[in-house]
Each structure stands twice: as structure tokens, then as C-alpha cells.
């Protein structure tokens, strides 16, 4: 234990020290959000943009909804699926990972993801959130529309902190708590932050005043942003990223003792249902909040998030009914989550009928993901993180390229220079999407593998067999979930 604490402390120290050291040499880049405000002042002596209180309210609500996804949503969703003796360990892992990474986000995460750097990672300008005050503003996707920067930071914090927590489902019931923490710090730093920067970092709409300005601005954007990959709310950054990490983790950590021989039925499916439902509710914050404004497009993202989930739930129910003879509740809610995953990158780009179709498809595809594919892979991804988030995320990323087409009821892509919808080329858009998928798969797999091996070689990944038998609640946390 002593040793583990030392490692954790060291990693933290590292977190604090690295940036301080780096600061000296770090280039002083105007941050994306600053650019917005600056843009306003530069062009003319116009009034500085003021946040709309409706937008601010919506972002506040969105952010607290994502907090609710992390705790209790994800904890319950996962916790209900493990055996009773490991319930608390799952709740603990998801909660503490979220909190720890929330701290790191404020210390260096936000700066590395959302300030200008190179195409793969940002800079050190906002370490410790320095310079940000209650009056600081962040840009949105509309010219001249801003929101308070603190809520933007908080909103993005919840994404950055919940994404790694998703991976917990892959190695639940057998991993050391200390290993979880150390792995998460590494993965967050080397996989989440770069991916977020690659996909989402750009100079903001106000920089796109002319074709030349757009080109200049474009060159500062993240790698995948430049490729033109669309990801409204995190299909690539969150779901593929975490899903692939989960698959790698399940392989490296190995199967649970008794896997395939002993019964490992979910200990409390109603809890899983509560968790899934709260994930759904919270996902409205996740998806719609990603619009950053309470506009008509926000309401499009909303209804898509609603309809895709309905369709996927119903589709999974029907396919399971047809193939296994009985439709299960766990199936229905697995469908719901799959629907939420698939619509995440698409929700602001496709039309409601597109979302119904995407939901229907993902219900069937992820059903296969946790049945056929899982058995083919032969991996103990305990709670099917890859089968649902990985597969659903990949499907969603690709289909976004299809159903975003105005001809299929989508919104197309906005051209900030002409301030109109651009011509839509489905093939090239799907290729752009495939770039996103490919990059996420490879990057996350490599980082995950190295990080896990490092942890395994230093503090070890798994608890002892006896501890696993006894259950992690007692052996790792000294408590029991239920008493009479």
C-alpha cells in the first residue's frame, strides 16, 4: 500500500511539476476561446459579446447532467451487472477515477486539450486554470456567441473524467484499485487529452471571416478537425477511444477466475436499469450540451438523442425476441445505451428519421457485438464495454457521414466563411469519418497497451486469487455492500 501511495503521489507530483517546468519554453498561443473574444475587438469597436443567460443555464444543466451520468449513473449501470461481492469496488472505481481526473483536468488537462499547441496536443497556457476568471468567455459554434469559460471548462471536465471511467467495465471484479488509478492517469494523459485536442480543438467560428483567414485558422486546429471528421458530442473521443481501451485492457488483464464455468449473473438488474436510465437522462446534457447553445440545432440534437434510443431499445428487444425466444430487460437497456452511443457523434447533424434508422441498426449490430463477436473474440470484457461503446461508436462515426447528408434529412456541414450549408459529398465525408475511427482505434490501443504493461510491471494489475474469490469489496475496500 505504502508503495502504491508513493506511486500515486509521484504521478501527482509529476502532474504538477511537468507543466511548471514546461511553462518556460511553452509558446504563448492565443487560446481558442480568447480568439473569439479577440476577434470581436479586432474587427471593429463593437460591444464585447455577452453570454446569453439561457445558454449559460443550459450549459450548467448539461454539465450537472453529465456529473449525474458518472455518479450514480455509470456506477449503478456497471455495479448492477457484477456480483454482489464486487459492487462497491465498481462504485468506488468509477467515482474515484472521475474525481481524480477532474482534479487533473483543472491542473493540466484543460490546458493540454483546449489551448493551441500542435495538431496533436495543446499547450501549457492555462495550467491550473491560470488567467481564467468569472468574466472569461469561451466561444461556441456561432459567430459572436459566447459562454462563460468556467462552465465550458466544467462541461469538458465531465467528458474527460467520465470517459476513462467507462473502461472500468472491462476489468471489473479482478483488478487492483491502485492499478486502476495509475492506469487511468496514464490513459487520460496520453490518450484522452490528445484525442480531444485532435478532434475538437479549433480557433472558433469568428476566425473564419474569409477563405484565407479560414485557412490560417484551420491550420491551428486539431489533426482530425483538419481532416473534416464530424463528431458532435464525442463518438470518437469518448466511445471509440474508451471502447478500444477496454478491449485491450480485457485482454491484458485476463479473464476472471471461473469465467465461463461459474455463474456470473448480474447481481441487481434493477440497479443496472436505474443506471442506464440516468445515463439516458444525463446523455441529453452530454449530446445537447455539446451544441453549447440553446438553439434549434440543440433541439434537433435532443430529439435525435430521444428517438435513436427509443429505436435501438425496441430493435434490440425484437431481435433478441426473435433469436432467443425471450426479450430481456438487460437487452432492452443495452439497446438504449447502444442507441445513445451511436447517435452521439451524429445528433446535431442528422434528421429524426435518420436517427430512428441509426438506432434501429445499432440495436442489431451491438446485439451481435455482445453475442457473436464477443464469443469470437473470446475475451472477458466483463461488462461489454467494447461490444457496446466500441462497436456502437464505430458504427455511429461512420453513419454520421451518411445521414448528415441533406438529401437524407441531415443538416449537412456549415461553411463558416460563406455562412451557408456547404456542398455535401457523402463519400469524402465517410472517408473523413473513417480517419477519425482509425486514428482513435490505433492511438487508444497503443497507449492502453503500454500503460497497462507499465502498471503490470510496477504495481501489478490483478488482486490475488483469494482476494478475487472473496470479492473486491471486502478485500480491497474493507466493506460489504449489503447487510440485513
Amino acid at each position: 500500500m505504502q508503495r502504491i501511495l508513493a506511486v500515486v503521489a509521484m504521478l501527482f507530483a509529476f502532474g504538477f511539476a511537468l507543466p511548471a517546468w514546461a511553462e518556460g519554453g511553452g509558446e504563448v498561443a492565443a487560446s481558442a476561446v480568447a480568439a473569439v473574444a479577440d476577434g470581436g475587438t479586432a474587427n471593429a469597436v463593437v460591444a464585447a459579446p455577452v453570454p446569453d443567460k439561457g445558454d449559460t443555464t443550459w450549459l450548467i444543466v448539461s454539465t450537472l447532467l453529465v456529473v449525474m451520468m458518472a455518479a450514480p449513473g455509470l456506477g449503478l449501470f456497471y455495479g448492477g451487472m457484477v456480483r454482489a461481492k464486487n459492487m462497491l469496488s465498481v462504485l468506488m472505481q468509477t467515482l474515484v477515477v472521475f474525481c481524480m481526473l477532474g482534479i487533473l483536468w483543472a491542473i493540466y488537462g484543460y490546458s493540454l486539450a483546449f489551448t493551441e499547441g500542435n495538431a496533436f496536443i495543446g499547450g501549457f497556457d492555462k495550467l491550473f486554470l491560470q488567467g481564467v476568471t468569472a468574466d472569461s468567455l469561451a466561444g461556441t459554434f456561432s459567430k459572436g456567441v459566447v459562454v462563460p469559460e468556467f462552465i465550458y471548462i466544467a462541461f469538458q471536465l465531465t467528458f474527460a473524467a467520465i470517459t476513462p471511467a467507462l473502461i472500468v467495465g472491462a476489468f471489473a471484479e479482478r483488478i487492483k484499485f491502485s492499478a486502476v488509478l495509475v492506469f487511468m492517469v496514464l490513459w487520460f494523459t496520453f490518450s484522452y487529452l490528445p484525442m480531444a485536442h485532435m478532434v475538437w480543438f479549433w480557433a472558433g467560428p469568428d476566425a473564419y471571416t474569409s477563405a484565407e483567414a479560414a485557412e490560417a485558422a484551420g491550420a491551428t486546429a486539431g489533426f482530425l478537425f483538419q481532416k473534416g471528421a464530424l463528431d458532435f458530442a464525442g463518438g470518437t473521443v469518448v466511445h471509440i477511444n474508451a471502447g478500444v481501451a477496454a478491449l485491450v485492457a480485457a485482454i491484458v488483464v485476463g479473464k476472471r477466475i471461473g469465467y465461463g464455468r461459474e455463474t456470473m449473473a448480474p447481481h441487481n438488474l434493477p440497479m443496472t436499469m436505474v443506471g442506464a436510465s440516468l445515463l439516458w437522462v444525463g446523455w441529453f446534457g452530454f449530446n445537447v450540451g455539446s451544441n453549447m447553445e440553446a438553439t434549434g440545432v440543440a433541439t434537433l440534437a435532443f430529439i435525435n438523442t430521444l428517438l435513436a434510443t427509443c429505436a435501438a431499445t425496441f430493435a434490440w428487444t425484437l431481435i433478441e425476441w426473435a433469436r432467443k425466444g425471450k426479450p430481456s430487460m438487460l437487452g432492452a437497456i443495452s439497446g438504449a445505451i447502444a442507441g445513445l452511443v451511436v447517435i452521439t457523434p451524429a445528433c446535431g447533424f442528422v434528421g429524426p428519421m435518420g436517427s430512428l434508422i441509426m438506432g434501429g441498426l445499432v440495436g442489431v449490430v451491438c446485439y451481435w457485438g455482445v453475442n457473436g463477436l464477443k464469443h469470437a473474440l473470446g475475451v472477458d470484457d466483463s461488462l461489454d464495454v467494447f461490444g457496446v461503446h466500441g462497436i456502437g461508436g464505430i458504427l455511429g462515426a461512420l453513419l454520421t457521414g451518411v445521414f448528415a447528408a441533406p438529401s437524407l434529412g441531415g443538416t449537412g456541414v456549415w461553411d463558416y466563411v460563406t455562412d451557408t450549408v456547404a456542398e455535401y459529398d457523402m463519400v469524402s465525408q465517410v472517408i473523413a469519418q473513417a480517419w477519425g475511427v482509425g486514428t482513435a482505434v490505433v492511438w487508444s490501443a497503443v497507449v492502453s497497451f503500454i500503460a497497462l504493461k507499465l502498471v503490470d510491471l510496477t504495481i501489478g494489475l490483478r488482486v490475488s486469487e483469494e482476494e478475487e474469490r472473496e470479492g473486491l469489496d471486502v478485500s480491497s475496500h474493507g466493506e460489504t455492500a449489503y447487510h440485513a
Binding site: 451487472m81 456470473m264 438487460l330 453475442n371 461489454d384 461490444g387
Partner: protein
């Protein structure tokens, strides 16, 4: 004295208890158990994982009685617990060496 231990279908508990009361049994102890036998179980499916559940919920009923009540008690249970379908359960009879009522310290037949 005898100790009768019967495995029955859970929803029959109230009926059996009343049948026993009718033959003068005043006390009994009940345990939730799971039974495995000729009655077949069912299959449960959790995403990709399929589990065959052979153990079915049963109720165990323990009654300590006087020797001369044994036949009545067995008959009462047999009748009230039967549905005629497989899995109705079993009655086990043991010899009981001694009984003590904790509250009073009485022992033997008086303690029943």
C-alpha cells in the same frame, strides 16, 4: 420425539401451515432453500452469457413433534403441499433426542 423436515413449493407454505395447525402443531421453523431434483429448471440469458439454473426456490419446514403425531403430520403435509406436479418435494423424518424450551428450561414433550 420426531423431527419432520419437509421441502415444499414456496407458495404452498400458508396452506401447509394451516393444515399443520389443524392437527395440533403449534410451532414450526421455516427456511428458504434451493432444491435440485427431477423438476427441471430454466435458462437465463444475460447478453452473451447463458446460465442454466437447476436450483429452484423451495421452502423447508421443520417441525418437532411427539411420536404419536407423526402420521397425522405427514398426512397433513402430504395433502396440503401436493400439486401433483413434479417438484412437490419431500418429507424427511428424524429421531429427536431432546428438546429444550429456552425461555422456561422445560424439556421433552412439554417443550414442543
Amino acid at each position: 420425539m420426531k423431527f419432520v423436515s419437509a421441502i415444499i413449493k414456496p407458495f404452498k407454505l400458508d396452506e401447509v401451515r394451516m393444515a399443520l395447525a389443524a392437527v395440533g402443531v403449534q410451532g414450526l421453523t421455516v427456511t428458504d432453500v434451493k432444491g435440485f431434483g427431477r423438476q427441471k429448471g430454466h435458462t437465463e440469458l444475460y447478453r452473451g452469457a447463458e446460465y442454466v439454473v437447476d436450483f429452484l426456490p423451495k421452502t423447508k419446514l421443520d417441525v418437532a413433534i411427539d411420536d404419536d403425531r407423526l402420521d397425522d403430520v405427514i398426512a397433513a403435509i402430504e395433502k396440503s403441499a401436493a400439486t401433483g406436479k413434479i417438484g412437490d418435494g419431500k418429507i424427511f423424518v428424524f429421531d429427536l433426542a431432546e428438546v429444550v424450551r429456552i425461555r422456561t428450561g422445560e424439556s421433552g414433550t412439554q417443550a414442543l
